[in-house]
Symmetry: C2
Subunit: 443 residues, 2 copies
């Protein structure tokens, strides 16, 4: 996993007083500190990347910008009625430059990009892609081997869960500071036609915060793969979700794929879930012209168009691409202090003795905390018993199995700042205790 | 097909002056009348069951009943955030009695019941139902025979198109004034395990207006079928969409299925598309507890919950089940005159010479017009050339093929009343001309 060296920086504060004490005293002190925090009767939740109420408030203008006098789109369309499978053009025009997608290849759909990913994989399973020898599900029955999907680790549990639910076998691949390991991916895909694709969160990845480099993207797009229909699932969930400047330059993946001679390899997804209202936003799909047609054709069999009223709300609320960017700066102003607070607590408690490493990401919604191998489950259990709910250890890996039991995903976005600080104190105390326990037991 | 005798009633006006003339004069007069109407340069569309702007206006209160101060559900849930896979409980409580579904078995989802139907069939294809020997797609590959679906005709083109797109072979079955022919359905399903289900619009069916009788529903639910996972797709699209009183008593299909010992056979669907805003409504799914769990589990792999803000809008806007019923009476007041206008024109022009039969439905969105065999395509073509767009002839049948070329679906909801009258005049003139042409050519 990629935990930047810079983030595991020396503590801002001096080492705690027991740092130089004997191991038994250290363990006793850590245990006492844990008990002290656990006694506070906390009930905090840092499991999921949900926006806070203050972030949701930023978009409340959405709720009243379309009314009974203003439901018509710029072209006169009555957004209340059926139709418009591709989504409202004026909203697609706002997001096209932000997502590096030509507007005619950008679809605005329902409220969830995860649903669009499910749809795309389902279409490939049932119907095949245009470049598939057969529908993936039929191929699996004929060959007796399930389709397989590459899962860079640590990664997003819902990606892995979706692929598993759809019958894919999950194949972990490691990743570094530029993205998935190209040699592993090349070796796995070169001869196995059952490997149908790879998950990617290209910008501020969940949970590592890594953004893919253009060179790495180019490599993945150009790979010779045994499967002619190998698919890069480019989940651009955090494309605009920067915590500070400078931020990663966006990779124009559709252009890179075309340059690589494989325009149809990549399917891209994004949404406003972490831009406006998480449950009531708009999801986007973009791909090559051929794959956009493919997606729209299969979607069209089961839909008479997306919720255009909500799309009009979004277009009105933002007004322009620059409006979206200004809005994202307001999110950053709310989020950055929370990430900084976790970093400060971890640096103070865990830094001096190098008890863990953690990321200090430039964007996205997560901090990856790498603890001593074999202790992540214990940390999560201790934290839960102390009233701080963490994502289950292993959730960042296929099938929920982290072979090192070392990776914890921390999601500081939702609770108020002071609760985030408290939760970080508890987590740090748990890491300290679990680590010292493990050392004491000679593990 | 079922065209009630009552609807093909004698004309309110006296027969046209050429009714007693010789065939050549009649044809010349019909042709002249058609040319006169075609010369008006009309551009009318009665193809789809879309609500009119005036109907959509009825629900504009939706657009402003949730704002930045009122986004919390009754239980305190912040509807703006993720979560709540089953949908907002207070909305489900309003619709549960209207849809004869226990609230815990009723899901409120996205904006389209057609999408929920697509999802349910897709889950059966990819994963199988709990009572399936194998996923339907895998079974098809192994047996070499596609899964098959029964399609009562005339029926809803999007049902047929969806099933076809998903790889089902479409099998037409006839229907009468109580629903699908039970003997045909029994004969087809008794020995063929590839027949996986049947489409049904139980109330004010698209396009015939027939509502299924409780006895017929009981028969379908109790049938011994070769497929253990035979599924009744109960699309209750017009459950509340009555044009006059008295209206058909609702069939409590979930209770009937349980009584028949086959609680899992029926999956039910509905939406507010033709209640509030067609593109921005809420869709519902209801089934047995086991099938509701099955649907929710598979949906949950690809969703972090539906748009609860929009569901809250609907709950607030209606307030109660009675609020929905009162709202539907306002729709009826707008729709009934359009249906009456078509009936009056058809009665005047087509009735005296029995040139066609048509329905005068008690609800729903369609009039089925049965013309002389072999002339429906000609009527649609003539109408199109005269500026009145009709659904393509055959659309009411699987694969768009009406073997008799006799059925035309008329959708009078969307244009203003005076345009509906004009369109009906044109259609009637086209029917008259096409019928007399056919008689003249001895067909």
């Amino acid at each position: 996993m990629s935990v930047s060296d810079a983030s595991a920086s020396p503590a801002a504060h001096s080492p705690s007083s027991d740092a130089a004490a004997d191991p038994a005293s250290q363990l006793a002190a850590a245990s006492a500190e844990y008990e002290r925090l656990a006694a506070a009767g906390l009930s905090l939740d840092i499991t999921r990347g949900k926006p806070s109420a203050a972030q949701l408030d930023l978009s409340d203008g959405l709720l009243s910008c379309v009314d009974g006098e203003s439901f018509r789109a710029a072209d006169g369309t009555d957004t209340r009625n059926y139709g418009g499978a591709a989504g409202l053009r004026e909203l697609r025009e706002i997001f096209a430059p932000l997502l590096q997608a030509p507007v005619d290849q950008l679809l605005a759909q329902g409220n969830s990009s995860l649903t669009l990913m499910k749809d795309a994989l389902t279409f490939a399973l049932l119907h095949g892609r245009p470049d598939s020898p057969a529908p993936w599900a039929a191929e699996a029955v004929r060959t007796g081997a399930p389709p397989r999907f590459l899962c860079p680790v640590p990664g997003y549990d819902r990606h892995f869960g979706l692929a598993e639910a759809l019958g894919f076998e999950l194949v972990p691949v490691s990743a570094d500071a530029e993205g998935p390991d190209p040699e592993q991916v090349a070796a796995l895909t070169a001869e196995d036609p059952s490997i149908k694709g790879i998950w990617l969160v290209p910008v501020h990845s969940n949970p590592t915060g890594v953004s893919i480099s253009p060179a790495r993207a180019r490599t993945l797009l150009a790979l010779e793969t045994a499967a002619p229909d190998f698919t890069v699932m480019w989940d651009n969930a955090y494309a605009l979700h920067h915590l500070r400047e400078p931020h990663p330059e966006p990779v124009d993946v559709l252009a890179l794929a075309a340059e690589a001679g494989r325009p149809d390899r990549v399917l891209t997804f994004a949404s406003t879930s972490k831009i406006t209202h998480a449950g009531a936003g708009v999801a986007f799909f973009a791909a090559s012209p051929a794959m956009t047609d493919w997606f729209l054709t299969h979607t069209g069999a089961g839909s008479i168009g997306p919720d255009k009223v909500n799309q009009l709300r979004h277009a009105r609320f933002f007004g322009s691409s620059e409006g979206v960017l200004a809005h994202m700066r307001r999110h950053a102003a709310l989020l950055a202090p929370k990430f900084a607070a976790v970093d400060a607590v971890f640096s103070r408690v865990l830094g001096p003795e190098d008890l863990a490493a953690w990321t200090n990401p430039g964007g996205g919604y997560f901090i990856t905390l790498a603890v001593s191998p074999g202790t992540a489950s214990r940390v999560v259990k201790l934290a839960g018993e102390a009233g701080v709910k963490l994502t289950p250890a292993g959730a960042t890996h296929p099938y929920g199995l982290d072979p090192d039991d070392a990776i914890i995903r921390v999601a500081p976005s939702m609770p108020p700042l002071e609760e985030v600080e408290t939760a970080a104190e508890v987590v740090a105390a748990c890491v300290r205790l679990a680590t010292l326990e493990a050392r004491a037991s000679g593990v």
